[in-house]
C-alpha cells in the first residue's frame, strides 16, 4: 500500500517536528522525489511539504562577503542572480548545465543536494540494489555499468552522485546548514555526502528530521571569480547527466597559481575533491604539464567498477581542460551552452 500522510507545516519548527517521524520525507520542488515515488523506488510514509515555508527562499549577502542561499531558492533563480553569477560563475554555469529549463524552474537548492543517484538498478525495482533494499546486493556490479563510479566505490554500490551544482560548491568550500530536532548545525559539503562502504543506503550526514535550511559560500570563494569554470561531458549536447564533469578554480598572481580548487562530478557517490592535486598546483605555473601532473594525481586512486575504464582517462582529461579553461579566465557571460566543451575555445596544448 502506497499510502502516505501529507503535511504542509507553517513554520520551520513544525516542519522539523513532522520530519522527525520515522519514514518521513521532505518535499520541495519534487523533481526527483515524485518520480521515485511513482516508480515505487521510495515509499515515504509521511510527506512533509516544505515548499511554502517562509524565509527559506532568499539569497542573503553576508557582511563578511559570503553568501547564504536559502534551501528553497530555485536553481534557475540562483543561476540568474547577477551578483551571484559574477562572484561564483562556476556555480552558475553548473546550475545552467543541469536538467532542462523547466526542471531548473522547479528544483530547489536543498533538493539538488539530496537528489538520488541515476543508477538504473536503483530505479529498476526488479533489480537488486543495496541503496533501495540494504543487503539485497548490487545488480549494477556485473551489469550495464559503463557510466558508473571510478572512485570511492565499494562492492556494495558503484553508483554516482548526479549533481552538477554540488561539484563547484564542493570545490569552493560550501557549507550546508541543517536544522534538526537537536538544533542547528553546519557541515562542509565536502563531507556531507557519504561514500558507499558497506552502508550505501546512508547517503549523507543528515539525521532523520534534519532539514537543509541553507547552503553557504564563504567570502574566500569569490576570490576565484576571475578563473573559475565548470565543464561537463555529456552523451548529448544538453539535457543529460554528466558522464564526468569538473569544476576548476584558480587564484592567480601573475603567472603563478596561488591557490587551486578542483572537484569532479559523475565519478563517485559524492562530488570528488582531490586535495592533493590542488596542493600540487599551489605555487606552480598554469601550464599544460602542470595540469597534467595534477590530473594524474587527482585520478591516482581511480579504478573501473565495470565497463567504465574509459571514464578514468576521460576524468583525467577533463581535469586538465577545466584547469586550462579556468586559467584562461572566466568568460564575461555564461556561454549559451553552459559547461559544454562546445561552448568555447580549447586552450590546451
Amino acid at each position: 500500500m502506497n499510502r502516505f500522510e501529507y503535511a504542509r507545516p507553517a513554520t520551520l519548527a513544525e516542519a522539523v517536528a513532522a520530519g522527525a517521524v520515522p519514514g518521513a520525507a521532505y518535499l520541495a520542488g519534487g523533481t526527483n522525489l515524485m518520480d521515485l515515488m511513482k516508480g515505487g523506488v521510495m515509499h515515504p510514509g509521511h510527506l512533509v511539504d516544505i515548499s511554502r515555508l517562509p524565509g527559506l527562499d532568499r539569497i542573503e549577502w553576508l557582511s563578511d562577503g559570503g553568501v547564504r542561499i536559502g534551501a528553497l531558492v530555485r536553481n534557475a533563480d540562483l543561476a540568474h542572480e547577477t551578483k551571484f553569477a559574477r562572484q561564483f560563475p562556476a556555480v552558475a554555469e553548473a546550475l545552467l548545465s543541469g536538467a532542462s529549463a523547466q526542471l531548473r524552474n522547479a528544483a530547489t537548492v536543498g533538493g539538488n543536494l539530496l537528489q538520488r543517484t541515476r543508477c538504473a538498478y536503483f530505479y529498476d525495482t526488479a533489480s537488486a540494489c543495496n541503496k533501495r533494499n540494504p543487503g539485497a546486493g548490487c545488480d549494477a556490479v556485473g551489469g550495464e555499468n559503463r557510466l558508473h563510479a571510478i572512485l570511492g566505490w565499494s562492492e556494495h554500490c558503484i553508483a554516482t552522485n548526479p549533481s552538477d551544482f554540488c561539484v563547484p560548491l564542493t570545490a569552493l568550500d560550501a557549507v550546508v546548514e541543517l536544522q534538526g530536532p537537536a538544533g542547528r548545525r553546519a557541515i562542509p559539503l565536502e563531507t556531507f555526502h557519504l561514500l558507499p562502504g558497506s552502508t550505501p543506503e546512508r547517503e549523507t550526514m543528515m539525521q532523520q528530521g534534519e532539514l537543509i535550511t541553507a547552503v553557504c559560500l564563504p567570502a574566500e570563494a569569490a576570490r576565484f571569480a576571475g578563473n573559475a569554470r565548470y565543464l561537463k561531458i555529456r552523451e548529448r549536447t544538453s539535457y543529460a547527466f554528466a558522464v564526468v564533469s569538473a569544476a576548476a578554480a584558480l587564484r592567480l598572481d601573475g603567472e603563478t597559481i596561488v591557490e587551486a580548487r578542483i572537484a569532479l562530478g559523475g565519478v563517485a557517490l559524492k562530488p570528488w575533491r582531490p586535495r592533493t592535486a590542488e596542493a600540487m598546483l599551489a605555487g606552480a605555473r598554469p601550464d599544460p604539464a602542470v595540469f597534467n601532473r595534477a590530473a594524474e594525481t587527482a585520478l591516482a586512486g581511480a579504478k573501473a567498477s565495470g565497463d567504465n575504464a574509459f571514464k578514468i582517462e576521460l576524468a583525467r582529461r577533463i581535469v586538465v581542460r577545466a584547469l586550462a579553461l579556468a586559467a584562461a579566465g572566466t568568460p564575461e557571460r555564461v556561454p549559451a551552452l553552459p559547461a559544454s566543451p562546445f561552448a568555447g575555445a580549447i586552450t590546451h596544448a
Partner: protein, 752 residues
Amino acid sequence: MPEIALSQAPAHIRMGSSIGQSLTRREGVLKTTGTARFAADNHPPGMVYAVLAVSSIARGRVTSLDVAAAKAHSGVIEVMTPANTPRLAQDPDAKLHPFMFRIEVLQNDTVRYVNQPIAVVVAETLEAATEGALLLAPAYETEPARTGLDSNDSFIPQAVGAGGPAEETHGDVDAGLAAASARIEAVYETPAQYHNAMEPHSVVAAWDGNTLSLDMPTQAMAMTQGRIAGLFGIAPEDIHIRSPFLGGGFGSKALGSGPQVLGIIAARLVGRPVKLVLRREQMFGPVGHRAPTRQTMRLGTDDQGALTALSHHVKTATSTFDDFIEPAANASHALYASPAIKTSHEAVRLDTGTPLFMRAPGEAPGSAALESAIDEMALACGMDPLAFRLKNYAEVEPMSGKPFSSKALRQCYEQGAERFGWAARPLAPRQMRDDAGMLVGWGMGTAVFPALMFQGHARAVLRQDGTGVVEIGAHDMGQGAWTALAQIAADALGLDPDQTEFRSGTSDLPDAGIAGGSAHTATAGAAIHDAGGDVIAKLADLATGDQRSPLFGANNAGVIARGGRLYRRDDEARSESYTDILTRAGHAEIEGRGTGASDPAALSAYAMYAHGAVFAEVKVDPDFGQVRVTRLVGAFAAGTVVNPRMVRSQYYGGMIWGVSFALHEHAVMDKRTGRPMNPNLAEYHVPVNADVPNIEAILVEERDVHVNALGIKGVGEIGITGTAGAIANAVWHATGVRVRRFPITLDQLIGA
C-alpha cells in the same frame, strides 16, 4: 499555377491550384492550444480505468498473483488474469497472414519477455487500478534469458520484413571479390531501439451488445478493425474506430497491439467503457521495437573505383514466438551499380517482444552500414566519397535491371554538395579544426526509400451550393495528412480548399490503407484524386450532354475543373459553375468513388524509389570524444511535393532521427535478465534542440509519371537513410577513427 501533365490523370482535372502550396496545418490551432482530442482524452460516461501488470522477467511462468489483495483495494472492480479472461473467438497465437502478429492477452501463464502483460486491473480511478496492479506482487518460475545475438542458435528466416526473401543474389559476388583490385570487409553493429512515440499506446473501448466503439491511435484503421473483429468474432463494420490524431506511430501503431486488445477485453468483462493507457516503460516490450543487427559488408572495386561486388549479410534477432526479421541487407539492393550483389539474413530467437516495423525498417540500420562501408571503400580507392558514389551511380536498378520510374539523385548530389560546400573537403581525415580547436569532419550518405503504395479508397461529393466533400479514413500521425490530403481533395474537385470539406480519421469512412511504408499520401491521395475524377466526370456528363449548357458538346476530355467551374479545354471563355449544372439537373449532390493503388504494369516495368543525398558536418572534441552535428544538409527527390512545409518537416524529422540513430538511441539491455535498463525518455536519449543546431532540407524537383497519377513518392522515412551513415563518415573524417558500433559514443572515440 502551371498545369501538371500526368499521363494517367483524368484530363478534365487541373492539378496545382492547391497542391504545391505550403498551407499550415489545418489542426495546428487545436494542437497548439491543447484542444486536439487524442484517443486517451476521451472519457465516455461510466468509464473505468484499466492498468496493466507486466512481467519483470524475460522467460518463465507466472506462478502466483495476489488477486485477493488487488480486489480488496478500494475502487478495484475486477482483476483479469489467465484464469478469468474471456476466451477470444480467435487464438491470439494464430498467424493467418504475415501482417498478423501474435499477441499476449493473458491466454496462459507463460512469460515470453520483460514487460509482457500478465494481468489487468480495472478500477473506478486510475490511482486505484495502478495500486491494484502493484498489489498483485507476482511470483515467477524463471528460466535463463537469451538476450544477445550470440545467445541462441541462428536460423535462416523464411522471409524478411514484409515478406521478402532472406537471400537475394545478382551476379557472382565471390568472383567479383576475387577479381577486385581493392577490397574491404567490415562488421557494423546497431542496437535495439524502441519507437517511443510521444503518445503512448492507448484505447478507450465501449461495448454496446456486439457493437464496439473505440478511441485508439492507429496507423491502419481498416486492418485494426479486421484484426479486432477476428479476435472477438464480430463483424468489422460493428467496430467504430475514431483515430483523428496520433502522437506519432512510427510503425508501432499499425496492427492493434496486445495491450489495446486487453483494454477491449476488459471493457467486455466489466460491462463498462474502459480506458487503458501504457506507461512509458510498458512500451519497452509489447508494442514492438527495432531488433539489433550485426552486419558484415564485403565490397570490391576495380582499379577505376567501379564496384565489382557488394555483399551485405545481416544477423539480427526476433522473438521466441513470432517472426519479424529486420530486412537490413535489402538496403543494398537499389543504390549502387555492381555486377554482383548478394544480400542475406540470419536471425536468432531471443526472449524479447517481437520486433516490428520501425520507421525505415531495414533501411535505417542497413543504410547506416552500407553508407559507412561505401565510405570505407572510397577511402581504399583513394577517391572522394561523392566521386565514388557517382562512379557507381546506378542507371538501372542493379538487382533487376529495370529502369527507374524517375531518379533525380544526381541533382540531389549536385544541389546538396553545392549548398554544403562539399568541394572544399580535404580527402584525408583529421585535417580540419575550428577556431576553438574542435576536430571538424564532413561526411555524406545516399538516401533511398522505395516508393510504395497500398490500396485505398475515397468518396467525393459535389453539392449544389458549389461546395464539395471528400471522405477517407486517413491517419494523421503528425505528418500533416489532414492538410496534404485536403489539398489533394480540393484540386481533385476543382475547388478552393475552403470550399472543400475534408472528413477523415474514423473507420466508417472509406479505407485509406495503411499509414506506413511512406505510402500514405500516395495511396490516399491517389484514391482521392480518383474519386474526384469520378464525380467531376459525372458532373461533366450532366453539362456536356445538356443543350442549355455552354459546355454542350464538349466531351469529358474536353473540360477542366477549377474554382468551382468546368471550362472547355479548347475555349476557356466557355464555362459553367457546378451550382448551375447541378441546379439545372435537379441534383442536390452527386457522388464519386475512387481507388488508389499501384499500377501493376508500371510496377513490373519500373523500379520506383525516392532518393536523396545527406551531407553532415560534425565537431568532435579531440580529448573527450563528445560529438555534435553542427550542420546537416539533405537534398531529396521524391516526386510531387504536395505541401513543401509538411514535406520539409518530414525530412527534418527523418534527418533528426538519423542523428539519433548515429549518436544517441540505444536500448540498454541487461545481458543477464533481458530487462531494458533505460525505459524512459531521460535515459533513452534522442536528440534535443542543441543537438541539431543547423539543418536544411532541399526539395529537388522531380516528376514521375509512373508511380501514380499524382506523381507522389513517400517522404516519411527517407530522411533517416543516408543521415546515420553521413554522420558516421563525418566522425571518421574528423577523427580518423572508424566507429562501427552504433550509436557512436565518446568512449569509442577517446584516444582519437
